[in-house]
């Protein structure tokens, strides 16, 4: 319990720090929301300064931060200048879509990558290992952008799957299963991009940690006691190899919200990505800050879950042993 409480306090302090940093950094970014308006000759400078006062943008930094913090406590997370609405519901609507995309992608990535990594390691040097190795190396060396654009081009050319958006134009007419099917079809492109970019990393990591465990003296000793290969793999090797894999899993969790921004923009998925991009370009301050805070929360939660998992799985860490991984 003490452990949990300590982590929670640390996380809160970190979040406050992130928010302060965010505020400070955006202050230094050139331009403001009203720059475009200024270019428009039809809007007078008085109108613009009136708008500025209305939104409180002429106040000093500290006061703005204080007002924003108060709005966080209220649940609003600030006020969007472009949408003319509180930030929180805007964020949340988009965040839900992003979470749908990334959780599905993470599930598929690990369902493919984990067994493949274990299989490659146990058939060290065999055909599976060589094939998986080449494919992984190939995928790792291609940047995510390139994969995204390539798949996008493929999808558009072949017209096999819908591109862009979450639902088709006739969405309101669809019911029940057809609706689900519609969303799934739209998910196909962004999920494929994410999976192709991520699965190689998982496979290589899992393979490396299983290989290391296979050479461990305790596994050789188990072989000497006549423990069968399959049972040994699942009952003896995997629990030992779990440690680094769990850390990687924590990383994946932490990136659930922030890791897909690029893909969403390219594939046209209505998630946080396009929202943040537009808001940044338009200098819609509070959306940007709110989104960053949300991503930080997920990051901290992901790391925390990984730590809890590690503590649960490895008795050495529970006892504070120095030589635990």
């Amino acid at each position: 319990m003490k452990f949990l409480a300590r982590r929670l306090v640390r996380a809160l302090v970190l979040l406050v720090g992130v928010s302060i940093l965010c505020f400070g950094l955006t202050e230094f970014a050139p331009g403001s929301f009203f720059d475009e308006m200024r270019l428009n000759p039809q809007i007078s400078p008085e109108t613009i300064s009136a708008l500025r006062t209305h939104y409180g943008l002429d106040r000093p930094l500290a006061i703005r931060y204080g007002r924003w913090a108060a709005s966080v406590v209220h649940g609003d997370f600030g006020y969007s200048l472009a949408y003319n609405a509180p930030v929180a519901p805007l964020l949340w609507a988009r965040a839900k879509n992003t979470l749908l995309l990334t959780s599905l992608a993470m599930l598929v990535t690990w369902v493919i990558g984990l067994p493949l990594g274990v299989w490659s390691a146990s058939s060290r040097g065999g055909l599976t290992d060589k094939v998986a190795g080449s494919v992984s190396s190939f995928l790792i060396s291609i940047p995510e952008v390139v994969i995204a654009i390539a798949l996008l081009a493929l999808a558009v050319r072949s017209r096999a799957i819908p591109v862009g958006g979450m639902v088709s134009l006739n969405a309101e007419d669809l019911v029940g299963w057809q609706r689900v099917r519609d969303v799934l079809l739209h998910l196909l492109l962004p999920v494929s991009i994410l999976v192709l970019s991520g699965v190689a990393v998982v496979e290589r990591h899992v393979r490396a940690s299983v290989l290391e465990v296979l050479d461990a003296p305790c596994i050789q000793a188990a072989r000497g006691f006549g423990i069968g290969k399959t049972r040994m793999l699942f009952r003896h090797v995997l629990p030992l190899a779990a440690n680094p894999a769990i850390s990687l899993f924590g990383f994946s969790l932490a990136g659930l919200l922030g890791g897909s921004l690029l893909v969403e923009v390219i594939a046209g998925w209505p998630g946080l990505g396009p929202l943040i991009l537009d808001a940044t370009l338009a200098r819609d301050l509070y959306i940007v800050i709110g989104a960053v805070m949300l991503c930080s929360v997920f990051m901290l939660a992901g790391n925390f879950i990984a730590d809890v998992l590690l503590l649960a799985c490895d008795p050495r860490i529970r006892a504070g042993e120095p030589d635990a991984a």
Binding site: M1, F3, L311, R318, A319, G320
Partner: protein
């Protein structure tokens, strides 16, 4: 100019966590005191868990004792900070049990031996190389092997290189933490002979840590027996072996004696 080592009332404890529950305190060393006159050898004997390694690490200031004093020659070093300790580090050096983990196996022998000189910024590049070469010869290896990697040497040779590294800064006191265990019998004999020669040549003071009474009996003038963090008996080696007082000492001596008696039986009349 030889250097003595005195330890007075050394104590060190460790905290061990027990997951989410409270942590327990382990008293690794408690009130340990001994004195090694300059140029002499003291062996700290005890079973595993008796605290001997803890004492060794505190004496070399790899760790800081919780209480007690450590007198290296005339200087008290248990409370010194890192900066004041730096010049004194060359006076006392340590040799560890397993040469494959105490040295980077992919480094060359010359890199290993020259490293202390490099860290303490002694000599030019050529001077360091020459010193490394002469040290290799002194520990019984050929200077031609300077550029070989550590993992190309045998266990006994690796330990010799570790000794050469320890000698690089011309220390006055050497601490050997189980440096002989894990070596073959004949290798142990050779290393012990080397240590004896080095002690005579450089007036070195030795603190030996070991669990094997038989191996160290040849090298050491003084013996201190540790059990559960305390020294239970100490004195000249001969006296302790011939007349052990404490039960822990008696167990240790009896074990060594057992093999001796079995040998005598096997040999029959011809001893």
């Amino acid at each position: 100019m030889a250097c003595s080592l005195r330890v007075q009332g050394l104590s060190r404890q460790y905290q061990t966590r027990n997951g989410w529950r409270k942590s327990t305190t382990v008293q690794a060393a408690c009130g340990v005191s001994f004195y090694i006159p300059a140029g002499k050898t003291l062996a700290l004997i005890g079973s595993s868990g008796s605290g001997k390694s803890t004492v060794a690490r505190c004496v070399v200031r790899l760790e800081r004792p919780d209480s007690g004093e450590i007198w290296l020659g005339g200087v008290e070093i248990s409370r010194l900070g890192a900066r004041s300790l730096r010049p004194l580090r060359s006076r006392i050096q340590m040799i560890f049990q397993d040469p494959t983990t105490s040295m980077n196996p992919r480094m060359s022998a010359s890199a290993i031996i020259e490293e202390p000189l490099l860290i303490q910024q002694r000599g030019t590049r050529n001077e360091r190389r020459e010193r490394a070469a002469s040290l290799m010869v002194e520990v019984g290896l050929s200077a031609d092997w300077l550029d070989r990697r550590i993992n190309e040497f045998s266990g006994g040779q690796q330990q010799r290189i570790a000794i050469a590294r320890a000698l690089a800064l011309s220390p006055k006191v050497l601490v050997l933490d189980e440096a002989l265990s894990g070596l073959d019998l004949s290798t142990q004999v050779q290393i012990i002979q080397l240590l004896k020669n080095l002690q005579a040549a450089h007036s070195l003071t030795y603190l030996l840590i070991s669990h094997d009474l038989g191996a160290v009996a040849h090298l050491t003038d003084l013996l201190a027996v540790m059990s559960a963090g305390r020294i239970v008996e100490q004195g000249p080696t001969k006296e302790i072996i011939v007349n052990p007082q404490q039960p822990q000492t008696q167990t240790l001596v009896a074990a060594a004696e057992h093999f001796k008696k079995a040998f005598a039986r096997a040999q029959g009349a011809s001893a």
